[in-house]
C-alpha cells in the first residue's frame, strides 16, 4: 500500500501514543472538536517560563488524529511557546497543501511524514485537530 497515508510511523503512534494520558500538573487545558465526525480531544500543557515542559492529550479519534496529536506532543515538548506556534503554522500550512522547504521538513521532523494527508481532503481535519487545539490553548492563555 505505497500510496497509503497509513505509514509505519503513523500506525505506531496510533497504537502506542506515549503522550496520550491525563497530564496532572498541567498549566493549560483546551478542548478541540472535529465537527465533521464528532471526534473530541483535550490537550493539556505544562508551560513554565515560556517553555512547554510537557504536552499530553486525551480523547478519541481516528488513527490520523491520534497519531498526529502524539507526534505533535513529541515535537513541542521542550520548545518555547513561540517555536511551538511556528511549528504549528508550518504543519497547518503543509496540510493545506503548502510546499515545505528542506529546513521546514527538518524542523517538523516526523510530523512532515503526514504531508500526504494534504492530498486527502476528507482527512485534513483529522490531521489538524491537535494542532488547531494547540493554537486554541495558546490563544486562550495569551501565550
Amino acid at each position: 500500500m505505497g500510496n497509503s497515508i497509513y505509514s509505519a510511523a503513523l500506525m505506531d503512534h496510533n497504537a502506542h501514543p506515549d503522550n496520550k494520558y491525563d497530564l496532572q500538573d498541567a498549566t493549560y487545558s483546551h478542548d478541540g472538536i472535529n465537527p465533521s465526525c464528532g471526534d473530541e480531544m483535550t490537550l493539556k500543557l505544562k508551560v513554565n517560563d515560556g517553555v512547554i515542559e510537557k504536552a499530553a492529550f486525551t480523547g478519541h479519534g481516528c488513527a490520523v488524529s491520534q497519531a498526529s496529536a502524539d507526534i505533535m506532543a513529541d515535537l513541542i515538548e521542550g520548545e518555547t511557546v513561540e517555536e511551538a506556534r511556528r511549528l504549528s503554522g508550518l504543519f497547518l500550512g503543509m496540510i493545506q497543501g503548502k510546499e515545505l522547504s528542506d529546513q521546514d521538513r527538518e524542523d517538523l521532523d516526523e510530523a512532515a511524514e503526514l504531508e500526504s494527508i494534504s492530498r486527502m481532503p476528507a482527512r485534513v481535519k483529522c490531521a489538524e485537530l491537535a494542532w488547531r487545539t494547540l493554537d486554541g490553548i495558546l490563544d486562550e492563555n495569551g501565550e
Binding site: M1, S4, G38, D39, E40, H60, A122
Partner: protein, 414 residues
Amino acid sequence: MSPNAHVTDLTVNPYKADFPLLANNPELAFLDSAATAQRPAVVLDAQRRFYETMNANPLRGLYKLSVEATEAIQQARQHIARFIGAPNAKDIVLCRNTSEALNLVAFSFAPMVLRPGDEVCITIMEHHSNLVPWQQVCKRTGAKLVYMYPDKNSVITEEEMRAKIGPKTKIVAAAQVSNVLGVENDVKTMAKIAHEFDAYMVVDGAQSVPHITVDIADIDCDFFAFSGHKIFGPMGIGILWGRHELLDAMPPFLTGGEMIESVTQQGATWAPVPEKFEAGTQDAAGAYALNAAITYVESLGWGAIEAREAELAKYCIEQLSALPFIRLIGPADPAAHHGAISFNVCTVHPHDVASILDMNDVAIRAGHHCAQPLLAWMGIESCCRASVAFYNDKQDIDKLVEGLKKVWSMFNGE
C-alpha cells in the same frame, strides 16, 4: 423456481450497464446509495433532452417552448403523485430536497398549530433534516420536542408510540426508513395514533422511496417528503406532498416570483397550491428527469427491486457476521434492513475504515450520518455504513469483506 430467481442471483448483474458511472468503473464497489444513488443513462438523457428540446422558463412564457416546459413539470407532478399514491397532482410541491421540504412544513405549517406547552414528537433515529427544523420551531413557539425510542430489535413499538403521543402532541414526524439502522418504522400506526389526538403526521420518505413501495393514502399521513437524488434522479429536486386543505391554509415559505397572484406597492396575494410554495424559477429539467427516474424504477418493478435488495442485505449481513471483528449496528435480521447496514470494526475508527476501503475501490459512508442524537443514544460517536441498491451485486459485497479484512490486519496484524 421463484419468479424473481433471475434478479436474486447476485452473481448476475443486468443493472450496472444502465448506470454510466458504474459501467465505466467496473472495479468500484459503490455502497453509499443511501447518501446519494447513481443515475441511469435514461435520467441523464432526459435532463439533456429537456435543455435541448424544451428549454424555456416554465409557467410564464406565452410561447410554445414555455408551454412545453410547463407541461414537463405538470407531467412530472402527475407521475410523482401516482408513484406515492397521492390523490391530486396539485398537492405535489417541488423543492430542492427532503431538507427543504421538511423546513417548509416546519416554517409554514408548524407555527399555525404549535402553542407554548404543545409537543412535537419525533423518533431518536431521525436524520438531522427531520430533527433540527423541529428543534428550531419548538424554540420559536415554546413547544417541547419529545422522542420515541426503539426497542432492542430497533422497533418503535406501538406501546412506545402511545407513551409519547398524547393530548399535547400537535405534530408527529418520523422517517419511514432509518438512514442508519435501515429499519422501516410503522408510520401508518404513528399516523393513526397522531390522528386520535388531532395531531398531524409528517413522514420523511428520503430513505423509503428508493427501497419500498410507498402509498401515502395507506399511511394516511398529512405531509410526505423525499429527495430525487436518492431515487436515481438528479440532485437538487425534492418533493413535498401535503394534504390540500393544509397546504391551502398555510402561508408561503419563500416569496417572490411565480408564487404570487398579484402584487401592489404594499402587498401581494398568493398563487394557488402548489405554485404558492414554488418561488422563483423551478428546476423543470430536474422534475422532468425525476419523472424519467421513476419511470425507470417502475420498469424494473418493485417486486424485483425488493427481492434483489433483500438478497443483498441477507448476503451482506451473513458475510459481515462471519467476521469476528465486526460489530453490526441495528437489527440482526436482514429482512428488517432497507438499504442501510451499519457496523463498526473493533478498535478501528470508522474514518480509517472508510479511507482504507477507499484504497480498495470500496465506497462506504463513515461518520455520524447526520444522526448524532441516535449515535449518542446508542453510545457510539460514529460508525460505518454500507448501503445497497438493486444495482449492487455479490462482487461488491465480497470486495467490502476483503477490504474489511485488510483493515483489520493493518491495525491488528503482525
